[in-house]
Amino acid sequence: MRFNNLLLPLIILSLIVAASCTGEEQPDTHNVQEHAQSDHSSMEAGQPSDHSIYHAGSTWLNRNNEEIGLESLRGKIQVVAMVYTHCDFACPRIIADMKRIESSLSPEELANTNFVIVSIDPERDTPERLSTFAEENNLDPQNWTLLNGDSGDILELAALLGVKYRRISDNDFSHSNIITVLNRDGEVAYTQQQIGNQPTNTIRTIKELAG
């Protein structure tokens, strides 16, 4: 009895997966969230649909240090990940996954798709740093948006996308390895919970949305 009680903290720890940068893999739980898809033709004007994350209305800086509203992403399919550029382990793999997605799209599909990297480390990932990072990784400005924002807005966006992250030291974060596909109106169309496998479902979702 007493011995069991001493085990409690260990057992609790064993239940916890500190994802990503510590090297753990999330269980394979792909899930497709089906929201009422809005009609593209009626969407262009007026308010985003009720399930659109663009209601958040936050403002960000891109790699050119230009201020952009979140809702300015509306109109294209968005493939979004929240990472930090000093991360050695999972983040390069997330970027690699996104590039793999990019390279599997047709020129027409690509013309309707944009890739978004949102930093969870706004102090270090300044627009300048994001610009350098984008160049190092050949992230085409036509198709790739890198965003630096206020910590409260980052937390809010993470909440909207179901991303969890936490600073674990001066230099590192743990965070979910989630890649989110947003439809043109900013509704979550697909959440890829895991990196490293073929992003088949993610690509299929984008192709469907672009079709």
């Binding site: 409690l8 903290p9 916890i16 997966v17 409260g152 937390l155 809010e156 969890k164 992250y165």
Partner: protein
């Protein structure tokens, strides 16, 4: 005349200094300190430094929230975007601006059925913010007599007893019972509370080391008798936060606000 002006100026300045050091209405100052988070991944520092901050003595009430939605129609229950609040949002209210037949009874009770987005919007409206997880846990580790009572077994037992009590149909008004060391009411037992960074908690239902451990783990009666009972109370909060999503609302989840101490000087 000059002398009088001088005296007035002195009074004014003294008043100003006083105001700077006095918490805003219905808030208390929590002196910063070191706190040991319930859980860390092993790669993190074991201790977290909490800076001095202000926190509400009481939960935000139904009346407070009614004032907010009156001025901010987009947060009324018929208007709120489903991405910001699920269908249970403010379901205990009769209408958008109507608390229903029990108005008199629940007006000063904690508002619940509130999403994290709604709580944050309210905080922004008040020029305040939600407490961080560390701030909340630090403030809530105080008993009536000590600022940090996580090792005080009678306090810990009391917290667990409060967690075990069923929620009454109508919540009592805020400010019932004894405040803790800092002067904060009802941190434990009445309702759970949103914190700013609730979504920093990682948890899965999966046990990594095979059979049997889950059963031991969920044996709460055993844990309640151990010296680590405070960990168990903290675990309950930890697990709750890990299970939440930002648009969730439940009848036993409310919030209170915090503020930076240097906020007023700006």
């Amino acid at each position: 005349m000059k002398f009088i002006t001088y005296v007035f100026a002195c009074f004014f300045w003294a008043g100003f200094l006083h105001a700077r050091q006095t918490p805003p209405d219905d808030m208390v100052k929590v002196e910063g300190g070191v706190y040991i988070p319930f859980y860390n991944s092993g790669t993190e520092e074991a201790e977290a430094q909490v800076e001095t901050f202000y926190i509400d003595k009481y939960h935000v009430t139904n009346q407070d929230f009614l004032d907010f939605v009156t001025e901010n129609p987009e947060w009324r229950k018929s208007m709120v975007k489903p991405i910001f609040a699920d269908e249970g949002y403010l379901k205990h209210w009769e209408g958008d601006l109507n608390l229903g037949p029990d108005t008199g009874e629940i007006r000063n009770s904690p508002v619940t059925n509130i999403s994290w987005f709604a709580a944050r919007a309210y905080a922004k409206w008040k020029n305040k913010r939600l407490p961080t997880l560390d701030e909340w846990e630090f403030a809530a580790s105080a008993s009536e007599y000590e600022p940090v009572a996580s090792r005080d077994s009678s306090f810990v037992r009391k917290v667990l007893t409060l967690y075990g009590q069923p929620q009454p149909e109508k919540l009592p008004p805020v400010g019932s019972g004894q405040p803790n060391y800092h002067g904060i009411y009802n941190l434990h037992g009445q309702v759970w509370e949103w914190v700013e960074n609730f979504n920093t908690v990682f948890i899965t239902g999966e046990s990594r080391d095979g059979g049997g451990t889950n059963r031991q783990f969920y044996c709460a009666a055993g844990a309640a008798a151990s010296p680590d009972t405070e960990n168990y109370a903290a675990f309950i909060r930890f697990a709750l936060r890990g299970s939440l999503e930002a648009h969730y609302t439940t009848k036993n989840l409310g919030f209170r606000l915090a503020q930076d101490v240097n906020n007023e000087i700006q």
